[in-house]
């Protein structure tokens, strides 16, 4: 490959843009010259870029704004089940709408004013349904965006790619634009993006500047939820009560974490999150790399010796914590790069510390 040779440009001769050209994110403070720089290339050397031969393609070297790269979607495979289901649901919808139509028409013929009321009600229901569907759709799309963002961030970290990292951080700042607590972090991030910082470090900075307060909030939610589960289990008189409460607490915890990281997940979105969190839990067993089983077994043993109920409480609290951490892993828009992943042990320590006091 031919390497292009050095050459000097006059400041006024060749248009020199302020890098990197992203208007709203990068107010060019010091980088942009005051007046627009005019054209006409001339260098003191005899070299001509075209004569220097085909060097590196310009796009590779020049800071070009990178379009968000979406991760390859898994194609949904054709299946007879889905064909059947869509046929049935289409048929049902058709039948329903025909019967509603027939019902209203019939009613209009018999008692006209009641027919009018029925028509209005039907429209209301249709509008409500549409709204619900739209909201769910938006919520799910948002969740997908977050997932996509994390995948892209992971890629940027792995390749240490600055451009990809900047694109990720821009999207991250967009996600949290309506979150006033992240205002300062977003501002700081804008400044960082103007500097020469490697991709991996940039993602780490994004974590610290924007996600740090959210992480703390999420961990707090997990701790308080697990603590409550532990206390309720330890105190409840009937097993059924704990089971109901544990399920209820787990569900509300997952929803709360979803709200902390990504706004309202909606009902379908919530199920999606729950499914992912449970799948994640199944894969990792809720164990982060740093967790040790030994400590848990010993700790549990001691707790159980003290009181069977208290031991049970701690176990249930720990399970809730696991689920919460799994949800956190699934919902956090960036991977853990510069920050330490919260571990079950951290939370168990908190539960254990407070449990006696709560009792």
């Amino acid at each position: 490959m031919t390497r292009r040779r050095p050459q000097v440009f006059e400041l006024d001769d060749v248009s020199i843009e302020a890098p990197p050209p992203e208007p709203d994110m990068f107010e060019p403070e010091t980088l942009a010259p005051e007046e627009p720089l005019a054209a006409d290339p001339s260098m003191s050397g005899e070299a001509d870029a075209s004569a220097a031969g085909p060097g590196r393609p310009a796009a590779a070297a020049a800071p070009v704004p990178v379009a968000a790269v979406s991760a390859p979607r898994r194609r949904r495979r054709f299946s007879f089940l889905s064909l059947f289901l869509s046929g049935v649901s289409g048929f049902a919808a058709l039948a329903l709408s025909i019967s509603v139509y027939a019902f209203i028409e019939d009613l209009l013929g018999r008692i006209p004013w009641l027919g009018g009321v029925a028509a209005v009600l039907a429209v209301l229901a249709a509008v409500g349904l549409l709204g619900m569907v739209l909201r769910e759709w938006f919520a799910i799309r948002r969740l997908k965006e977050v997932e996509d963002l994390r995948a892209r961030a992971e890629k940027a970290v792995a390749q240490d790619n600055r451009k990809a990292a900047i694109a990720v951080l821009k999207d991250l700042a967009d996600i949290y634009e309506d979150r006033p607590t992240t205002a300062r972090g977003r501002q700081a991030l804008k400044a960082h993006m103007r500097e020469i910082i490697d991709g991996r470090d940039l993602v780490g900075l994004g974590e610290r500047e924007i996600l740090n307060p959210l992480d703390r909030e999420a961990v707090r939610a997990i701790v308080s939820s697990s603590r409550r589960v532990a206390a309720v289990t330890a105190l409840s008189p009937r097993a059924l009560v704990d089971v109901v409460y544990v399920v209820f607490a787990a569900l509300s915890l997952v929803r709360r974490i979803a709200v902390i990281y990504g706004g309202r997940p909606g009902t379908l979105g919530f199920f999606r999150v729950l499914r992912h969190a449970i799948a994640h839990l199944a894969v990792t067993g809720g164990m982060a790399a740093g967790d040790s089983l030994v400590g848990e077994v010993i700790g549990k043993g001691i707790a159980a010796k003290l009181s069977a109920k208290l031991g049970e409480g701690i176990v249930n609290g720990m399970m809730t914590a696991r689920l919460g951490l799994a949800a956190l892993d699934v919902l956090r828009p960036l991977p853990f790069v510069a920050t330490r992943r919260p571990r079950v042990n951290d939370i168990v320590a908190e539960i254990a510390r407070i449990a006696p006091r709560d009792k």
Partner: protein, 483 residues
Amino acid sequence: MRERLRRLEDQARLAAATLEERMGGLFAPTLRLGVTGLSRSGKTVFLAALVHNLIHGGRLPLFAPYAEGRLAKADLAHQPDDDVPRFPYEEHVRALVDERIWPQSTRRIAELRVTIEFESARFLNRRIGRGTLNLDLVDYPGEWLLDLPLMNLTYAAWCVEAAQEAHRRPQDAAAWLARLGDTDPLGPAREELAQSLAETFTAYLKAARADPNALASLPPGRFLMPGDMEGSPALTFAPLALPPTGAAPQGSLWAMMERRYEAYKTHVVRPFFRDHFARLDRQIVLVDVLSALNGGPEAMDELRRALTAVLGCFRTGKLSFLGSLIDRRIDKILFVATKADHIHHTDHDRLEKILEVLVAEASEKAAFAGAHVDVAAMAAVRATREGTATQGGEELPTIIGTPMAGQRINGRVFDGEREVGLFPGDLPDDPAAVFAGPRDEYGVTTLRFRPGRIERSNSGLTLSLPHIRLDRVLQYLIGDRLE
């Protein structure tokens, strides 16, 4: 035998000093950061920028203690050794900011201590530790660094090596090689002869260093930067063309030269090493890769040999807890390609790759001994901005800055006032290519830029010195001690 005794003595002294420091360090631990670099690699600028950014709180987003707000204060403190001049940090910063010139080359050793007050992020450390770290920094002429490999060379071995080096630079060494040819090492020792030999040798060393393509100067470093020892017998010697075997006859020139060489090692090299390099905890190795690139494969090879030889003298590796009470080892080394602001950031990865190849041998050795090793491209003081120039439909990543007065490229001479854009040329994708193959005429320029104008904020405060990746470097070198 004497050699071994001397080494033993050094070891004992070191152990005593370390133990004493560790005891005192229970309350305010000390971290000695070794800044290693050949001459003109940017040691002084790095130190000035580091101290300035720490004290004045520059933009250091990646330096965690600072960014997380745990660093309460960093201040200059009394230096540990009273007999070493203080590093004139204020002068250097003033020169950089007000006059916009780079510091003069360092002529003597200087020291500075920065005390960092911080709060630990860990609960236990916060309760027990004092939250103070003394950071000791040493600046010295890079020429002296190449003396360190002499410690392990006998006079005869050094003579062979010096002759080899001289044959690599026939133009500079012609006069001295001729002199070497007609001097009889077995002849009687005469002071005038020794003096004139040393003079010729020094003239050759100076000529070799003045060569624009030369990167590493040749030892002994004090011949180039004598400091306060000028004219003393320890500096009046030269290599001779020795017979391959045999010992020096009494009263011969050979015997005298050998004694003086040993005296140089004893009185100059060993104390220099013992006082400043034997007790390091962390090391940063500054390498001016861009100049070497411009010098072609020979320059790269010369740099590689010099770095490997110098780094072989340091004590790297991990120590056990008990061992660390009486001994010190360098447990983290960072190799840094300096002056990264002289190329566009899209080329920084390539620069790092080249540096990796350049220091591969030294870094493997260190990693094998158990030290952490990393490389980075850095500009301690950033002198350029970046832009894009379009020419003939091709976009060229360009840096914008003010070339220093007298700098020239393609026959054009700069006046030191005018700001220009420069496309510095592409770095090769394959780092090994710069070691093989002929010298690339179209290489990267070594056009040198003046330090940029420092921005002032609206209230008229001088903002911190701009840099590239200084924060990352700091985080790597001292971040873990401030956790």
